[in-house]
Amino acid sequence: MLESVNTAIADMHTDGTLGALWNSNVAELGINDEPVAVVPAVIEGAQTVRVGVSGDIPPLDYTSVDGKPAGYNTAVLAEIAKRAGFNVEFVYMETGARFTALSTGRIDLFFWQLGFERDVLSSDTFTGDLEALTKDLQDVVPCLRSEPYASAKVGWVARTDVVARSDSALLELAREAAAWVAAHPNATPAEVQAYCAELGVDDVCAVDASGAIAISNQAANIGFNFADDEQSAAFLPILRNEITELAQPATPRGVDGAMYRYAGVAGGIDGGLTQVGMRVE
């Protein structure tokens, strides 16, 4: 079966079928479009191949709420089955069960397995030993791997609050805050607090050239010198023009020990720095 599947994949690459199926079922799938199930044609008298699907990489391997596959997986398998001359029976399973299902004969084929691209393996931009990370599946489980039918970049799904705390996002907010402080040199704690809410951060403060907080949303913090605590002292190189900005990991802050994530940039008050902070729960 491996040979006939690989031949079908190679032909589908060559004639553009795989690209077209990717476009219609993945790249151009609308946000609110439900993937449509493609029912493989029945070939009288042909072998039936049980195909494991997990629904774990939608919309590439998608299963609907009733556990039935739909979209890209069904479209690709239907076309391969037609070309290779076998019938398809889909079997829904957890991803982690695929090796056991293959080795015990519960399924004959599992729809997806990730592998490193050969181009990536030889990429000059990659510094790690990817060869060492690539598994030789035949040594691990009694199964074969087909030729690739698609390629996709690695991605991350992150909560928006995590992204909001990223270095670049916090530094951008610090730059905005520095411009605001420069335009409001006599801002009161209440005015800074209102600006904090507008900016979406918990803390804004501006330090003068001596390292003392001159503007803050918390009145009690005004006058605190950054040199008096290890956490805040980490920002002093900005005042000495050794660095222009710093994003700090979550650290207990010097004033009261509360866990905060801070970013600071030069500017705001002449010769000083401006800092924004987000409380970390």
Binding site: L29, I31, N32, S54, G55, D56, I57, P58, P59, L60, E94, T95, G96, L102, L109, F110, W112, Q113, L114, G115, F116, E117, D119, V120, F126, G128, L133, K135, Q138, V140, P142, C143, L144, R145, S146, E147, P148, Y149, A150, S151, A152, K153, V154, G155, W156, V157, A158, R159, T160, D161, V162, V163, A164, S166, D167, S168, A169, E172, P249, A250
Partner: protein, 123 residues
């Protein structure tokens, strides 16, 4: 009406998310505080190890990551995110885009490294 509401929420999410996504690099959200939910897959786990070793960040810089939780399905991973027991799921970019577009409070970020998709066939 429910479909229209969902559509409007999704549009709002995308409109507000796009400018931030353009600025954020993967290495920004990979640090010692990041908790990963990893779907139980040998290759994905290998990828995590590469990230842990600082090998797969966009700039090639070395950054440690926080604890990781092995989950048995993408659904379980999303539950981890929504209940604040994990911050990030590592997956393929089309999947990241797909699930982020359908869940408020989630964003997707595309990395630079590509993976092949193959089929496993019984021997």
């Amino acid at each position: 009406m429910r479909k229209l509401f969902t559509y409007l929420l999704t549009v709002i999410l995308l409109v507000t998310a796009v400018p931030a996504m353009a600025q954020v690099l993967p290495s920004d959200i990979i640090n010692s505080e990041t908790r990963f939910a990893i779907v139980n897959s040998g290759e994905t786990q290998s990828l995590l190890e590469a990230v842990r070793n600082g090998e797969l960040t966009r700039e090639g810089t070395t950054k440690g990551i926080g604890e990781s939780i092995i989950v048995q399905s993408l659904t379980e991973g999303l539950l981890m995110l929504s209940s604040n027991r994990a911050d990030v799921i590592l997956t393929l970019s089309p999947t990241a885009r797909y699930v982020a577009a359908r869940n408020l409070g989630l964003m997707s970020v595309e990395g630079v490294y590509a993976l092949d998709l193959c089929m496993l066939i019984s021997n």
